[in-house]
């Protein structure tokens, strides 16, 4: 009669083991403390139960060494917990360099997912196991949250910008995908499934799905369809910046700041072109594409821009944006011409 009752969720990603470990350690430690306190109280209640109506207790008021101990020892333990938790957080928040990049759009009340090869899914996500997958996510309306309990990952999906999460499935199977941030009437219906499958099966799945073309090639199509190519020439001569080798490179903008051309910057530059103008270029040249280009198409255009730059997975030691340390080093390189310093080939299809 008990339908699949269990105490532990599936553990199916590379980080889930450590999260479980943390949970169990905390459980043991806290249980010991709680049982200790409870035992002391229950023992005292029984042992020192008021003998007669007028009895008073022991009148001791304080014990400084004892009090210092129970202040310092918990604090040290807490710092330990903090350090462990923070280390796990960095693992969970920072995607590895070799992750496959997929794009997610949340809207009331569904998940729309794009694979780099061009496959699109709604409320399902097929992924290979043993391969890190990075999700770049945005929302069309309210805040959602992409939550896969079996992977122990969760990330809010915000309107107006991208957020990122990643995971590497370690066990084939079918896992729940939930929306964890309350998003309106059918919040509880905004759920789906993650299918983690061996790499071979995943390749088969990819070939079965009828994709029009890869994300980058679709992006190229849109790049021409929306007229981007009219101004963004690949020769540094246009009225608009050259987009070759731009992705994840430092860019100096008109206020003098240097920023990294990440997904969020590219997205913002399509929807609000004047927000951050590249140094040396003029405002008001590029039209605002809000409402014209759909979020999925933006993701494809970004994939195209990315393909114009260093190849994904290419081992470039100076590739910025993989670690904070190299980010600092790259700052010095920044300048008005930073977008065209590399000599790598423009991809023509």
């Amino acid at each position: 009669m008990i339908p699949s009752f269990r105490l532990f969720p599936d553990s199916a990603s590379t980080v889930s083991g450590e999260v479980n470990g943390f949970f169990i350690c905390m459980l043991i430690l806290c249980s010991l403390m709680a049982i200790g306190i409870a035992a002391l109280i229950i023992y005292s209640c029984l042992r020192y139960h008021r003998a007669h109506e007028r009895a008073i207790g022991d009148q001791r008021r304080y014990n400084v060494p004892l009090e210092v101990t129970w202040t310092v020892v918990p604090f040290v333990l807490f710092v330990g917990m903090f350090v462990w938790g923070a280390r796990m957080y960095f693992d969970i928040e920072r995607p590895p360099d070799n992750a496959i990049s997929m794009y997610v759009v949340g809207k009331q009340w569904m998940w729309k997912i794009q694979h780099p090869e061009g496959q699109r899914e709604i409320n399902t996500l097929h992924i290979p196991i043993g391969q890190p997958v990075k999700l770049t996510m945005t929302s069309e309306d309210v805040i959602h949250s992409f939550f896969v309990p079996a992977f122990r990952t969760k990330q809010d999906v915000l309107p107006g910008r991208y957020t990122t999460t990643w995971f590497e499935a370690s066990k084939a199977g079918k896992y729940h995908l939930f929306c964890a941030e309350y998003c309106g009437t059918k919040h509880s219906g905004m759920i789906g499934w993650i299918y983690a499958m061996p790499r071979k099966d995943y390749q088969t799945w990819l070939t079965q799905g009828a994709a029009e073309g890869s994300m980058a090639s679709m992006g190229e199509k849109y790049f021409h369809q929306f007229g981007c190519a009219n101004c963004h020439h690949f020769n540094n001569q246009g009225r608009c910046p050259d987009l070759r080798n731009l992705y994840m490179r430092p860019v100096q903008i008109s206020t003098g700041e240097t920023i990294i051309a990440d997904d969020n910057y590219l997205r913002e530059s399509i929807y609000d072109p004047n927000a951050k103008i590249v140094y040396g270029f003029h405002a008001n040249i590029m039209p605002n594409f809000t409402g014209v280009i759909q979020p999925e198409q933006v993701a494809e255009i970004i994939a195209y821009i990315k393909a114009l730059g260093p190849q994904p997975g290419a081992q470039e030691p100076s590739n910025p944006g993989t670690a904070p340390s190299t980010y600092g080093a790259q700052k010095g390189l920044a300048g008005p011409g930073a977008t065209s310093i590399s000599g790598s080939e423009v991809q023509e299809r």
């Binding site: 004047n274 405002a283 008001n284």
Partner: protein, 216 residues
């Protein structure tokens, strides 16, 4: 029982001194809630100004720095009048106390007049946020955000001013019926604290809305 102080002593207090200090502490605590209230708006404004520097600079350039400076001077003068009102109260000089209170109210009204004429000006220039907002610059949304904060913060300040004038009217009435004396004039001090505080808020509003407007 003819002592006016004794007449005013509330039953929960033992001495007039205790009553005066309690009232003053209560007012200061209230003012600290106001600090946090305006502080929340200052924080939000700062965040957005960092996120959208160009739009906020453009919005700020719509401000009339001359009117802002005049209004600042007017408010500072009301503060002086309020301080004089307190001195007169301490000396039991009810006539001059009343005159000072009237001066505070009048100058406060002038401030509000200038402020509202600015509002009307912004409205005619379609700078009031909402569906009647128009801006041709590429940063229209951010300019609107600037004006949202401008209207909420100065509007909230204006509401405080109106309440302040109401308090002054009440104090004037009580002066007129002879409630205050050299021994008992706590309400004047308390009302003054409120008035000066509203003045302080304006000093910061002036600094963040008007002053950055001369350079884009």
């Amino acid at each position: 029982m003819s002592d006016p102080v004794a007449l005013e002593l509330r039953e929960q207090f033992a001495t007039p001194e205790q009553q005066r200090e309690t009232a003053s502490a209560g007012m200061w605590i209230f003012l600290m809630t106001e600090v946090l209230m305006f502080g929340a708006l200052f924080s939000a404004y700062t965040v957005y100004r960092i996120l959208h520097p160009q739009g906020f600079a453009l919005g700020s350039s719509e401000m009339d720095i001359l009117l802002g400076s005049i209004n600042t001077a007017i408010l500072l003068t009301t503060s002086l009048m309020m301080a004089f009102a307190e001195s007169n109260a301490q000396e039991g000089n009810e006539r001059w106390l009343a005159i000072c209170l009237i001066a505070v109210m009048l100058l406060g009204a002038v401030f509000l007049y200038v402020k509202f004429s600015e509002y009307i000006e912004h409205y005619h220039e379609h700078k009031a946020p909402g569906f009647w907002f128009e801006d041709s610059s590429p940063y229209a949304n951010n300019v609107q955000l600037f004006f949202v904060f401008y209207f909420i913060m100065t509007g909230l300040h204006a509401v405080h001013m109106i309440i302040g004038i109401g308090i002054m009217a009440f104090l004037l009435f009580r002066t007129w019926v002879g409630s205050f004396s050299a021994q008992y004039h706590t309400p004047i001090v308390i009302g003054g604290l409120y008035w000066h505080f509203v003045d302080i808020v304006w000093i910061f509003l002036y600094a963040i809305f008007y002053l950055p407007g001369l350079h884009r």
